[in-house]
Amino acid sequence: MSEEILTSNFFQLFGLPVSYDVDLDQIQQQYMLLQKQFHPDKFANASDQAKRLSMQQTSWINEAQTTLKDPVLRASYLLKLNGVDFNFENETTKDVAFLMQQLEMREKLENIKNEPESLEILDDLAKELKVSASVLMEGFVKSFEVNNMDDAREWIRKLQFMQKAKMEITKLTADIEDELMR
């Protein structure tokens, strides 16, 4: 287990079955074990080649951890393992009703700064978002389990919107809170 780290898949690396359901505690524990073994600080006196290898291995371990912990990244990684290369930048859903919903959400967010109770509205929106995201997630898991990769891919396309909206809400909340502190 040294060179192979770079070729094993993220689930294997963390001793997990290839599945959407993961044990976050197990990820954290395994993460620490791997870091203790491969981190560049353990190779401070080694050859330049060994140092470089350790840097690559640790980068890989870090990427694996990030991917496994994040639901959407994990889902798209599962697709990838099944031969579907999901392209985050260029893929989008064609479900018009869904897109309309997203547009409405966007508009709300754009105007929110002028609302008197903006923080409360953002909190509510974040909660709503969480609920709809978990519905989409369930959809993904069901499609994935029955090996319907086309549907699974569509669920992730939609989840991508949720992810972006969530980031937007976090950022807006942060901006407004910061503004209040000044």
Binding site: P40, S59, N62
Partner: protein, 636 residues
């Protein structure tokens, strides 16, 4: 080298090989060096017993002063006495215009310099970059360590503000290179503080480190668990610290006293000093008398804590905004924090303590020495990194403080690695060509969290060259952005269709180019060469003496038994040659002759070894011998 000396079995010649490694806190106001000796970590004092080295460099007519001596020239000779140089590390001329309101140095026009755009401060010793000036401070600390500990330095862990960007980190590493220090790791200051605190208290859980120094502010949220220090998020401001407090106070003095024409460097420096004294006094008392007496400026007045509060509150609020953001990025609530640790000299200011306590809703820990804790943590890590503690479980996992991205169409930044991602980290990005036959391409790398190129810090422009010509859009150039454990960026590129490795020319936006550093190194080597030469000559002479003594001692014991007359004569001939030339001033000839003598003695040494082992085995049982050997191995 020790061919002639033979140890008795069971008597280990390799005593515990303790390597000298230090931790260096290269601060804006003060710097420190610390090391671990016989299990204890200690900061090292100078000959007069002072641990803190003021980060001040004075360029006198023929010499360079660093520290307290330099400080005495601060007001008298401000243009040649550089304070707070850390604030200029890895900075471009635009940043400096803002920063320099405090210090008023004279800068050379960077456009006049062909190699890079690094701003240089005009001094009587020439135009100097912040890197060269910092190197003077590092050299002083290195010398202190070598003199105190009487050994050569294997390496050092140098601390940097967690919020330092790539250019500032690179500048720090360059300064270490100029000071001839082997950098084991650049360690983030709050992480270093957490190590010192964590190992001392043995506490586990989530902690926040609030580190406000002379010129920089950091906040880090860490999880401590079984010797692992995992940074969850970090935030800060690499241009906010005690100097800014002093500046606010000095402006208040100017307004109160209705001073005019206060732009001379002498007056500015003087007012900053008076402001600092007043600030420090207010940490102990409610009110302080201020007396200004320089050139045309005379004034006496008082400053009290309430006024100080009004002056400093906006600055302290800025630090709390960073705390909020760090908590959010770490996905940690205030109530999850087990301890808030105060680090850095500026946390002595009462208002800072009050506002931080208020924000985190708990009393912060101020019992550890805020000046020494960072160097202490760095020394602990240095000790582990050089291998003095092979079984140590300690591990530090850090993050990148600011997002990394590249310039895309329309002056926008596309983020490639987000802030607070665990490092090391690598991300690949594919590019293509837009013209037929295109074989080169430029990538502009930026750091920061803003959307626009104009709001971000430019790190470097990479020219990728040498990929095979193809029709527009066919080439797939994969650029890999690798951030190492020091938080430094390494870029590599490869054309995927052909597998051709693209060559990369890096033009750092604010750093020194490699050629410049090499030139500086050469220059400093030339200065040091005479010293070096006489030193290594002495070393060879001592070595010759040692070899001769060892040989003579061996000859007395068994020379006649183990050597034939011819062999002995041969050895004695080379021995005489070494005696003849050892007073010579050529170290190379001495070195060669030592080698020659050792070669001639090779058989003799082998025979001695055999006969020695035989003698030893006769006196001991085999088991005993095996145990001895084992314990010798354990010791080494």
């Amino acid at each position: 080298m020790a061919l002639i000396q033979i140890a008795e079995p069971g008597e280990s010649t390799t005593a515990h090989q303790h390597k000298l490694a230090v931790g260096i806190d290269l601060g804006t106001t003060n710097s420190l060096v610390a090391t671990v000796r016989s299990g204890d970590v200690k900061t090292l004092p100078d000959a007069d017993g002072r641990h803190l080295l003021p980060s001040v460099v004075h360029y006198a007519e023929n010499e360079v002063h660093v520290g307290v001596t330099a400080q005495q020239f601060s007001v008298k000779d401000p243009l040649n006495t550089i304070i707070s140089v850390k604030r200029f590390m890895g900075r471009g001329i635009d940043d400096i215009a803002v920063e320099d309101a405090h210090y008023s140095y004279k800068f050379t026009n960077p456009a006049s310099n062909a190699d890079s755009v690094v701003p240089r401060i005009k001094t009587r010793a020439g135009d100097l970059s912040a890197v060269e000036i910092s190197a003077q401070i590092l050299k002083t600390l290195k010398q202190r360590a070598v003199e105190t500990l009487g050994d050569d330095l294997t390496g050092a862990v140098i601390t940097v503000p967690a919020y330092f960007d790539d250019a500032q980190r690179q500048a720090t590493k360059d300064a270490a290179r100029l000071a001839d220090i082997n950098v084991l790791r650049l360690l983030n200051e709050p992480t270093a503080a957490a190590v010192a605190y964590g190992l001392d208290s043995g506490n586990e859980g989530v902690i926040a480190v609030f580190d406000l120094g002379g010129g920089t502010f950091d906040v880090s949220i860490l999880r401590l668990h079984k010797g692992v220090f995992e940074v969850l998020a970090t935030g800060g401001d690499s241009a906010l610290g005690g100097d800014d407090f002093d500046y606010e106070i000095s402006r208040w003095i100017i307004a109160q006293a209705k001073f005019r024409d206060v732009d001379s460097p002498e007056i500015k420096r003087y007012l900053m000093q008076q402001a600092r004294s007043a600030k420090e006094a207010l940490a102990e008392q409610d009110i302080v008398d201020i007396k200004i007496d320089i050139e045309h400026c005379q004034w006496t007045g008082t400053l009290n804590r309430d006024t100080l509060k009004l002056l400093l509150t906006p600055l302290v609020k800025k630090t709390l905004l960073s705390c909020r953001r760090a908590l959010r990025d770490a996905e940690v609530e205030k109530k999850d924090i087990n301890e808030v640790i105060m680090v850095g000299g500026s946390t002595r200011t009462l208002l800072v303590r009050e506002m931080v306590a208020d924000f985190f809703e708990r009393e912060p820990l101020t019992s550890i020495d805020p000046d020494k804790v960072v160097a202490t943590g760095a020394a602990l890590q240095a000790d582990v990194l050089v291998g003095n503690k092979p079984d140590d479980e300690m591990l530090l996992l850090d993050v990148i403080p600011l997002s990394l991205g590249i310039e895309t169409m329309g002056g926008l930044v596309e983020k490639i690695i987000h802030r607070n991602t665990a490092i090391p980290v690598a991300k690949a990005q594919d590019f293509t060509t837009y013209k037929d036959g295109q074989t080169a391409m430029a990538v502009h790398v930026l750091q920061g969290d803003r959307e626009l190129v104009s709001d971000s810090r430019s790190l470097a422009r990479f020219e990728l060259r040498g990929f095979p010509p193809q029709v527009a859009g066919a080439a797939r150039i994969r650029v890999t952005f690798q951030v190492d454990a020091d938080g430094l960026l390494i870029v590599s590129a490869c054309e995927e269709n052909s597998g051709v490795e693209a060559s990369i020319d890096v033009k750092p936006s604010y750093g020194l180019s490699d050629t410049e550093i090499e030139r500086m190194l050469r220059e400093s080597m030339e200065h040091a060469e005479d010293d070096m030469h006489s030193r290594s000559l002495r070393e060879q002479q001592v070595e010759a003496e040692r070899v001769l003594q060892a040989l003579d001692a061996a000859m007395v014991v068994d020379g006649d038994q183990l050597l034939s007359v011819v062999e002995k004569a041969e050895i004695m001939q080379v021995r005489q040659r070494l005696i003849d030339i050892k007073a010579d001033s050529d170290k190379e000839i001495i070195k060669q002759t030592i080698k020659q003598l050792e070669d001639t003695c090779e058989d003799y040494v082998a025979r001695r070894m055999n006969s020695n082992i035989k003698t030893a085995m006769q006196g001991h049982s085999i088991e005993e011998y095996a145990t001895d050997k084992k314990s010798a191995a354990e010791e080494s």
